[in-house]
């Protein structure tokens, strides 16, 4: 019966053979994996396309909650209030404020 290994094991040769087998296996594996992945993506894309056509036709996106998000403006929390405009040195129009603080009206 033929012997695969004769004499003491040459580790560097074993490593080289192992690496060659690994690279070969990887090269064989990669296209296979890619093909498998492509097969997996295609039905998903097809499903997405058909679902989208159905959902559009049904008007499923016309949910008011979805529409409100489309019209969402940047967040606005109530801003700190400031003194009313009469703090801006208003026209001296004889108003209550100007009677109280005559020096502060223009």
């Amino acid at each position: 019966m033929p012997r695969l290994i004769t004499g003491p094991i040459d580790f560097s040769r074993a490593l080289m053979i192992g690496a060659t087998i690994a690279i070969f296996a990887f090269q064989v594996q990669t296209p296979a994996a890619q093909a498998q992945e492509a097969e997996a993506v295609t039905p998903r894309t097809e499903l997405l396309r058909s679902d989208l056509a159905i959902d559009r036709s049904m008007g499923a996106f016309n949910d008011p909650a979805i529409l409100r998000q489309r019209l969402q403006t940047p967040p606005e929390w109530p801003a700190p209030r400031t003194m009313p405009p009469y703090s801006q040195k208003p026209l001296n129009d004889g108003s209550n404020f100007c009677k109280l603080y005559p020096n502060n009206c223009g």
């Binding site: 008011p64 909650a65 529409l67 489309r70 004889g94």
Partner: protein, 457 residues
């Protein structure tokens, strides 16, 4: 010695023959069953309803007409003919959702996803329902999954809009009553000095409380009653004499629908506010604002707005024909929001034309105003805003030695961050400069900085 290959073939042949002999009778039914499954496989596939047949079904027509009770009954009946059909289950979910039964909707979507886990559509509608349930963590995860798989689709774009809303605002309150309380501290470079003539720079503490009660709260229509109170305390004893207090009550309503595929949101709001100075009424103001928001493509929206307000001040001045500011102000304008960076930033542009007609000639004005702003989500989840506004006002009936015109420029910068989901801290600086070239005494420059903590409940 036998040829090893011939020996192996012989052994294999014997094995197969023996195996066949021993198992033929036992395996026959299994082969027949497998054959039947194979032959009938296309028939099994047809157990799922086709898209065309589904869209043309009476239940689908009821759904399209907005009869969600009828649609739900129809879809459930269709399940007996097409058991566990993921498409029918999805529309049972959407129908439950539109009827407001979010828990039942979630169950139907999860049942559909158990059969068809790759459906982006079902995962998207599940996330919408989770958002309505206030389960932001689950909604965020599912919306994110949709944007990862199909970012450029209708699902991905809409999921991005929801993710932006989840990332920047507290979860929508499921109750009818909600409120906002804010504690603030602000410095103002142009508070009027009191009669004692103290410096016009001042600091103030303020409290604001706003309460809202939703009379109607459906996804399409909201009608709310609102009330608010605002109080200030100035550490400076002279300025504190102002004892400023403001209160307001109002009603808001908005409705959202789609017209020709474009989302539109008309709204109308009424508000009455009253101001007191040192315990005396300073004046009141009624206002009505009508607005129409509408979508502009997938990354922009615009709002057209018209507002009308009527002021009634307690004191009309020494010569009401000139000095009274009682009267009506109106404005009409358009603002747009253009979103980018997955809705984590927006550019806002606006224009308004306003005019006022008061009892006293000096209050009559016509003005053009423009504004530009930038909002964006910064590192550490800080919301930053920067805005600039300019307006030119013409005092149309001014009684004075010279005509009066003024130009007002303002710049605002603010940074805000949520400390918890309901508490937000913000710092802001604003500067306003009004110039009236022919009346220098009426020109002013005012800088306000503020720090505030807000709690939403």
């Amino acid at each position: 010695m036998k040829n090893p290959k011939a020996g192996m073939a012989e052994i294999a042949g014997q094995c197969i023959q023996g195996w066949n002999m021993r198992n033929r009778n036992r395996l026959l039914p299994i082969f027949l069953l497998a054959g039947a499954i194979f032959v009938n496989w296309p028939g099994l596939a047809q157990a799922r309803i086709s898209g065309e047949a589904f869209v043309a079904s009476p239940a689908a027509n009821a759904f399209k007409a907005g009869d969600f009770n009828g649609a739900l009954a129809g879809f459930e009946a269709m399940l007996t003919e097409h058991p566990d059909d993921p498409l029918i289950l999805r529309y049972i979910g959407i129908s439950h959702d539109r009827l407001g039964d979010f828990a039942a909707a979630r169950k139907a979507y999860e049942r559909s996803l158990a059969i068809e886990p790759d459906s982006v559509s079902t995962r998207y509608f599940l996330a919408v329902t989770e958002y309505k349930l206030g389960d932001n963590d689950a909604a965020r995860k599912d919306f994110q999954s949709v944007t990862d798989v199909a970012p450029a689709s209708d699902y991905g774009r809409s999921a991005t809009e929801f993710l932006a809303a989840i990332g920047t605002a507290p979860a929508p309150e499921p109750t009818r009553l909600s409120g906002f309380f804010q504690l603030g501290f602000q410095g103002d470079s142009n508070v009027n000095a009191g009669p004692g003539g103290s410096a016009n720079r001042n600091e103030a503490f303020s409290e604001y409380l706003g309460i809202e009660y939703a009379l109607v709260k459906t996804p399409a229509l909201t009608v709310s009653l609102k009330g608010s109170g605002y109080f200030t305390q100035y550490p400076d004893p002279v300025a504190n004499d102002y004892d400023l207090m403001q209160g307001s009550v109002g009603m808001d309503t908005s409705y959202v629908t789609a017209m020709g595929g474009v989302p539109v949101m008309p709204g109308i709001a009424y508000n009455y506010s009253k101001t007191w100075l040192r315990g005396n009424s300073y004046g009141g103001n009624h206002s009505v604002v009508a607005s129409l928001g509408f979508g502009l493509g997938s990354n922009a929206m615009a709002t057209a707005k018209y507002s009308w307000s009527m002021a009634d001040l307690t004191d009309d001045g020494t010569a009401p024909a000139t000095t009274s500011r009682d009267g009506v102000s109106q404005s009409a304008g358009l603002s747009t929001n253009i979103f980018f960076a997955n809705r984590k930033a927006a550019l806002t542009l606006g224009y308004d034309y306003g005019w006022a007609n008061t009892e006293g000639d000096n209050g009559d004005t016509a003005s053009h105003s423009g504004s530009a702003g930038l909002w964006g989500r910064l590192p550490w989840e800080i919301d930053g805003q920067l805005s600039y506004g300019i307006s030119r006002t013409d005092y149309t009936s001014y009684r004075g030695p010279l005509p009066r015109e003024s130009t007002t420029r303002s710049i605002n910068v603010s940074l805000a961050r949520n400390i918890t989901e309901k508490i937000k801290a913000s710092v802001a600086v604003s500067d306003v400069v009004e110039e009236s070239p022919d009346y220098p005494d009426m020109s002013y420059d005012r800088t306000i900085y503020s720090f505030s903590l807000g709690y939403q409940f």
